[in-house]
C-alpha cells in the first residue's frame, strides 16, 4: 500500500502541491486526473523518489521513502516499474536492448537465453514481437510507449507508475494502450498508479480515480462515484468546461 500524507512541494515562490493526501491499495489501478500543469507529474515524481517534498510523507508498505538515503531508496525502487511520459527509451540502444537493459543490469545472474525469452515475451505482449532490432528513433510514438511499458514490466515489478502513457496519441492507440495495461494488470496483478487526463476513457480502466486540483486531492473514489461527484470542480473538468475550470483555478 502506498500512503501519501500532507505532501507539499513548491518551486521557488510557486506552490505546486499544497497538502496531498492519498491512499493507494495494493493491486489496484489508481488514476490521478487533473489539469495539465496541475502537479500530477510532480506528485508521481515524489512517489518514485525523484523529488523530495518540502513537507509531508510518502510511505510504501510501511517504509517512509521521502527521507531515505539513496541506497535504501534503491531497494524500494527495485520493486518499481516506471513508464515515463516520453518513454525515456535509451536512444543508443535497440528496442530489444532497451527492454533487456533492466534485466541485464539488475538480474545479472539470469542466463542470456532467459533474458532473451523474457524480453521476447514482453515485446510479444505489447504487440512488437518483430521490432526488437529497431532503434527507438525508427519507431512511432505509440510503439515507443509500448516499448516503455514492456521495459517497465520486464522485471515483474510490484508497483508500476504510468506518467501520461497515452498523451499525444490518436484515440485508437489510446484505447490500445489502455487495454494493454488492463490486460497486463490482469495477468501480473501489479499495483498501478497512472497520471492521465484522458477523459472519459480512463474511467473504463481505473479501479479508483483521484482528482488533483490546485495542489490538493479534491475527489477520490470509484470511477462512477467520481463521475457522479457533486463537486463542481470535478464536474467542470470531466465536461471540459474551459471557462469554469479556469475560474475554479483562480478561486
Amino acid at each position: 500500500m502506498i500512503r501519501v500524507q500532507g505532501l507539499q512541494k513548491g518551486f521557488g515562490a510557486q506552490p505546486v502541491l499544497r497538502g496531498v493526501d492519498l491512499d493507494i491499495a495494493t493491486g489496484e489501478i489508481m488514476v490521478v486526473i487533473g489539469r495539465s500543469g496541475g502537479g500530477k507529474s510532480v506528485l508521481l515524481k515524489h512517489l518514485i523518489g525523484l523529488l523530495r517534498p518540502d513537507a509531508g510523507t510518502v510511505t510504501v508498505d510501511g517504509t517512509e521513502i521521502t527521507r531515505l538515503r539513496s541506497r535504501d531508496l534503491d531497494r524500494v525502487r527495485e520493486r518499481y516499474g516506471v513508464v515515463f511520459q516520453g518513454g525515456a527509451l535509451f536512444d543508443s540502444m535497440s528496442v530489444f536492448d532497451n527492454v533487456a537493459f533492466p534485466l541485464r543490469e539488475k538480474r545479472a545472474r539470469l542466463a542470456s537465453t532467459d533474458v532473451r525469452a523474457r524480453v521476447e515475451q514482453r515485446l510479444d505482449q505489447v504487440g512488437l514481437a518483430d521490432m526488437g532490432h529497431k532503434n527507438p528513433a525508427e519507431i512511432s510514438g505509440g510503439m515507443r510507449k509500448r516499448v516503455a511499458i514492456a521495459r517497465a514490466l520486464v522485471t515483474e515489478p510490484e508497483i508500476v507508475f504510468f506518467d501520461e502513457p497515452t498523451t499525444g496519441l490518436d484515440p485508437i492507440l489510446v484505447n490500445t494502450i489502455h487495454h494493454l495495461i488492463v490486460e497486463l494488470h490482469r495477468k501480473v496483478r501489479f499495483t498501478a498508479v497512472m497520471v492521465s487526463h484522458e477523459i472519459p476513457e480512463i474511467f473504463e480502466i481505473a479501479d479508483r480515480v483521484a482528482m488533483l486540483h490546485d495542489g490538493v486531492i479534491v475527489e477520490v473514489g470509484a470511477p462512477d462515484a467520481v463521475r457522479a461527484s457533486a463537486n463542481p470542480v470535478v464536474q467542470h473538468f470531466i465536461r471540459g468546461d474551459v471557462e469554469a475550470v479556469s475560474a475554479d483555478s483562480r478561486r
Binding site: A13, I48, L50, R77, Y80, V82, A88, D91, E105
Partner: protein
Amino acid sequence: MFPTSTHEMWPLPLRPVAALGRLSLEVVEALGRFGLFLLQAIRYTLTPPFKVGRLIDRIHFIGFRSLTIVVLTGAFTGMVLGLQIFLTLSRFGSEAYLGPAVALSLIRELGPVLCAVFVTGLAGSALTAEIGIMKITEQIDALQVMALSPMRYLVVPALVAGVITFPLMVSIFDVVGIFGGYLVGVELLGLSPGTYFGEMQTFVDWSDLMTGYWKALSFGLIVPWVCAYKGFNCGHGAEGVARATTQAVVLASVLILVWDYFLGSVLP
C-alpha cells in the same frame, strides 16, 4: 529589520550590495556542487560494481573517435613549429637545435594543451550534449528509478576513459608532431636527419616527458568532469543543451589553460 528572504525588497541604496552578496553565494554554491560532483564520481570509481562494457564504449567514444583530429592537428602543429622555429633559429645560426626545440615545445606544452582543447571540442562537447539530451528526455530519471546510479553509469566510465586515453592521445600527438617538424625541417628546409633527432636525444629528458604526461592525465580528468557536469546540469529543452555544451567547451578550455600554467610552474 533587514529582509531575510530574497523575495523581500531591500532599500534602494542596499540593493547592489544585496545583489553582489547573492551572486557571491551563488558562485560559491555552484563551485561547491562542481567539486562535490567530482568527489562523488571518484567515490563511485573506487567502489564496485564496475561497468567495464561502458568503459570500453567511452574509450571508443573519447579516444578512438578523436584519433583522426589528433593525428591531423598534431601533424600541422609540428609542421608550423618546424617552420617558425627554423626561421627563428636560422637568424642565430642555431638550426641544429630545431629537433629539441620542436620536441620540447610539443612534449612539455603544446601536445597536452592542444590535444586536450581539440578533444574537448570533439568528444567533450558530444559528451555534454549526450548527457544533456538524456536528462531532458528523462533517460537519466529512468536510470535512477531502475535503481541504477547515473553517476556510475554515465560519469565514471567517461572519467576513467579520459584518464586512460588522454596520455595515449598526447603521445600520438607528440610523435606525429615531431615527424611534422621533421618533414618541414629536414625534407623541405634541408636540415640533416641525424642533427634533428640526435640533438633531441641530448636535450629531451625523462622529466620533460613526465611533465607532459602529468598534464595529459589531469586534462583527462578535467575534460570529462566539466563536460559531464554541464550535461547533468543543463537547462530545459534544446536551448538548455546548446547552452550547456557551449559552457562546457569554454569552461574546460579555460581550466585546461589555467591548470597548464599551474602545473608548468610547479613541475620540473
